[in-house]
């Protein structure tokens, strides 16, 4: 046997062993998966998707084997998840078994979702679980609860107690708001005059000694999520989208709420760039030390409490107002009506509704809507205590029905020119009511 033949024989042996190993590996790995039903679930990337992957992995390795279910999470883009879902729903697709939804969207999604039965309401924050009911039917299961906090620099607010600063505060508030006001050191009891006067005090235009360039970080971009934040102002001033079934932005409360944003922008208490700001820019303004306060989502707490100028100095308060309110919504998952794996998907949903699964979710970075879990995790995230209190005491969800998502977008479109001073409250309030009326049809 020459060298070449020996080489050929060796190669043949190696190939035989490789093929046999491959076949054995395939048999071992594929066989169990074929026995289980695959459930495909859509979520969006970011903290929610990452946290959910841990829950999915734990389920697939444990309870999923008993249920005969393997869950596969598919993360679509954060910006366009709902757009892609809309196309899938309209096509009555069965490609995904579980859709990602939210309390502000569930009315629009409801025709394409199956009712979820056997959910224990008592485990959840009332605003979160109720916000996912359509015609009293539970159409989705809550995951994260989102609401707003008034974030402010504690070191700066406490500096307002000195006699010199009190005098300066009175003078600045008179110049900017036309009212002589005294500092209110308890942000939890602020009304909008207190918030605006404090923002003016910490704006260098009015107080060159202010450590922050601007007193406020205003997310004023034409974006539906910014309407949710502005709604806190509207509700806090006693307004509402509808009163007795009729649009009511064109009311004293509605116009006053528009004027709060307009004052912040036109009096330059925020950066001129704020006309294009949303979540990320608002956070950047606070952590860079350029701004002193902002109404912002609870999810920002982790970053604000540990980054830059706000690290260790960020305070949380309820959004200001005469009758303080905070918007509350829940991100959620719903069962696709056209899924071919309804039974398997229901088993996974049943697991997701357990305290054990949501505890895993919270440990991995999620903010589940279960107060018992949030309570046990206050030591790792102090804002969890505020979520429970504020959602219960001040939380509200707009009753926009199937067009709620559309209403948010339309209000952002109609109101944002006034938020940034291009138009007056008077000019846009009527248009906002007309838009709401057209969406009631």
């Amino acid at each position: 046997m020459n060298r070449i033949e020996r080489g050929k024989m060796r190669l043949r042996k190696i190939l035989t062993v490789a093929v046999a190993t491959g076949a054995l590996f395939t048999a071992l790995t594929v066989a169990p998966a074929q026995a289980a039903t695959e459930v495909k679930m859509i979520l969006w990337p970011g903290p929610e998707g990452e946290a959910m992957q841990k829950v999915v992995d734990a389920y697939n390795a444990g309870q999923g084997k008993k249920d005969g279910v393997v869950v596969k999470q598919v993360l679509l883009s954060r910006d366009n998840t709902f757009a892609k879902e809309a196309a899938l729903m309209k096509a009555k697709s069965s490609e995904y078994d579980i859709y990602f939804t939210a309390s502000y969207l569930v009315g629009q999604h409801a025709p394409y979702l199956s009712e979820i039965k056997g959910v224990n309401d008592k485990l959840y924050l009332k605003a979160s679980i109720d916000g996912l009911k359509v015609n009293k039917k539970q159409m989705a299961l809550p995951l994260d609860t989102s609401l707003h906090f008034m974030y402010y620099r504690t070191d700066l607010v406490s500096s307002l107690s000195s006699a010199a600063n009190i005098a300066k505060y009175k003078q600045i508030s008179k110049t900017v708001l036309g009212k002589e006001l005294s500092p209110n050191l308890d942000a939890e009891t602020w009304n909008w005059d207190d918030a605006l006067a404090t923002a003016a005090f910490f704006t260098q235009k009015y107080n060159p000694e202010s450590p922050t360039k601007y007193g406020y970080a205003l997310p004023a971009k034409n974006l539906l999520y910014n309407t949710m934040i502005w709604n806190d102002v509207l509700w806090g001033l006693g307004g509402n989208w509808f009163t007795k079934g009729k649009p009511s932005i064109n009311t004293p409360a509605g116009k006053a709420a528009i004027d709060v944003y307009r004052t912040i922008y036109t009096k330059e208490l925020t950066s001129p760039d704020a006309s294009q700001w949303e979540y990320a820019e608002t956070n950047a303004a606070l952590t860079s030390g350029n701004a002193m306060m902002a109404l912002q989502w609870n999810a920002a707490y982790s970053e604000l409490s540990s980054t830059g100028a706000t690290s260790g100095k960020v305070g949380i308060a309820v959004p200001p107002g005469k009758g303080q309110r905070t918007h509350v919504h829940a991100l959620a998952v719903g069962l696709n009506k056209y899924s071919k794996n309804q039974a398997a998907a229901a088993k996974w949903m049943k697991h997701l509704a357990t305290v054990k699964a949501m505890k895993n979710y919270a440990t991995a970075g999620g903010v589940p809507s279960m107060p018992t879990i949030l309570n046990t995790m206050v030591s790792s995230n102090a804002s969890f205590a505020n979520i429970i209190t504020y959602a219960g005491k001040y939380g509200y969800a707009e009753a926009g029905g199937p067009r709620e998502f559309d209403i948010y977008a339309k209000l952002a479109e109609v109101l944002s020119p006034a938020w940034v001073g291009q138009k007056t409250a008077e000019e846009v309030a009527g248009a906002a009511d007309a838009a709401l009326k057209s969406l009631q049809k």
Binding site: N80, Q108, P111, Y112, P272, F405, A409, S416, Q422
Partner: protein, 286 residues
């Protein structure tokens, strides 16, 4: 014989015709069908609507506002990018050290996805954490690039930063086909560089520039991702392109019928440009 050649032509074209049917004709049919229906995401049933969607679109002020903004934006960026592209092509038409490297660098923006560019702009130009404002602040220059008063020109400039490389590349390619004898003769006759550009280069390149401008005009008419990510069409609808308006109508309002009607109207508005392009290509379309 003629019949055989026709059959062969049909056979050879059939793969293309098949793809055309699947990717263009069928979706166009579905789009038209949707445009003639009341098709809302929040309503399960789809019902015939006749021409209602077209009527509602034509009566909608936002549609005309978006169209107006789109036309102004498209014309502005097209003119600016063609001028800059032409100037760059003239610069690169001569030899200088580092030309190859700079040529490659100039083409980088066009290789980046517009949505990624928009995200980069948002970071780089952010007043609080952006590199550009931070650098300028070191020299005492304060700028608010996203100020609502300047947002239109910010968007035009950012579009030019990305797409000037496209016009530059095509004009440069056209410039390379210019016969050198023409320049030599002009130089012998004592023509100044300005005269050469005005009286020789531009007239010869005119058809190429026209078609490049037309391509940019049509492309910028469809601008969506950059502006959507940067401004969302706002404040209000001041920067809302027709593409953003259609997207919002379909995927936020959930009104697929109206969105389809708008898309069809947009195609009808752009179609008249086609003969112009075909003429510029000097295609014998019979």
């Amino acid at each position: 014989m003629r019949g055989k050649s026709r059959a062969a032509a049909f056979l050879l074209a059939s793969p293309f015709l098949l793809f055309l049917s699947i990717l263009v004709i069928w979706p166009t049919y579905l789009g038209l069908k949707t445009a003639l229906s009341r098709d809302l995401l929040s309503e399960f049933e789809i019902t015939p609507a006749g021409l209602d969607n077209f009527r509602m679109v034509l009566e909608q002020p936002q549609f005309w506002e978006a169209l107006r903004f789109t036309i102004i934006f498209a014309l502005s960026v097209t003119v600016l990018e063609c001028l800059l592209g032409f100037a760059l092509a003239l610069v690169f038409d001569r030899k200088f050290p580092g030309k190859t490297f700079l040529f490659s660098v100039t083409l980088v923006p066009i290789m980046i996805a517009p949505s990624l560019m928009a995200v980069m702009y948002r970071l780089i130009l952010n007043q609080n954490i952006g590199v550009v404002p931070g650098f300028l602040q070191k020299f005492g220059i304060e700028i608010s690039i996203f100020d609502e008063r300047y947002i239109f020109w910010t968007l035009v400039t950012l579009d030019a930063l990305q797409y000037t490389s496209f016009t530059f590349l095509l004009i440069y390619a056209a410039l390379q086909n210019m016969p050198s004898e023409v320049y030599e003769s002009a130089a012998i006759d004592g023509a100044s560089p300005r005269q050469i550009i005005a009286r020789i280069t531009i007239p010869i390149l005119k058809p190429a520039i026209a078609i490049i401008a037309m391509l940019r005009l049509i492309d910028s008419f469809r601008t969506f991702d950059t502006i959507y990510i940067m401004t969302g069409g706002g404040p209000g609808t001041t920067t809302q392109t027709i593409g953003i308006h259609i997207y919002k109508t379909a995927f936020i309002t959930g009104d697929f019928g109206m969105a389809s009607a708008m898309s069809i109207l947009l195609v009808m508005l752009l179609t008249p440009f086609m003969p112009f392009i075909i003429r510029q290509f000097r295609l014998d379309v019979k």
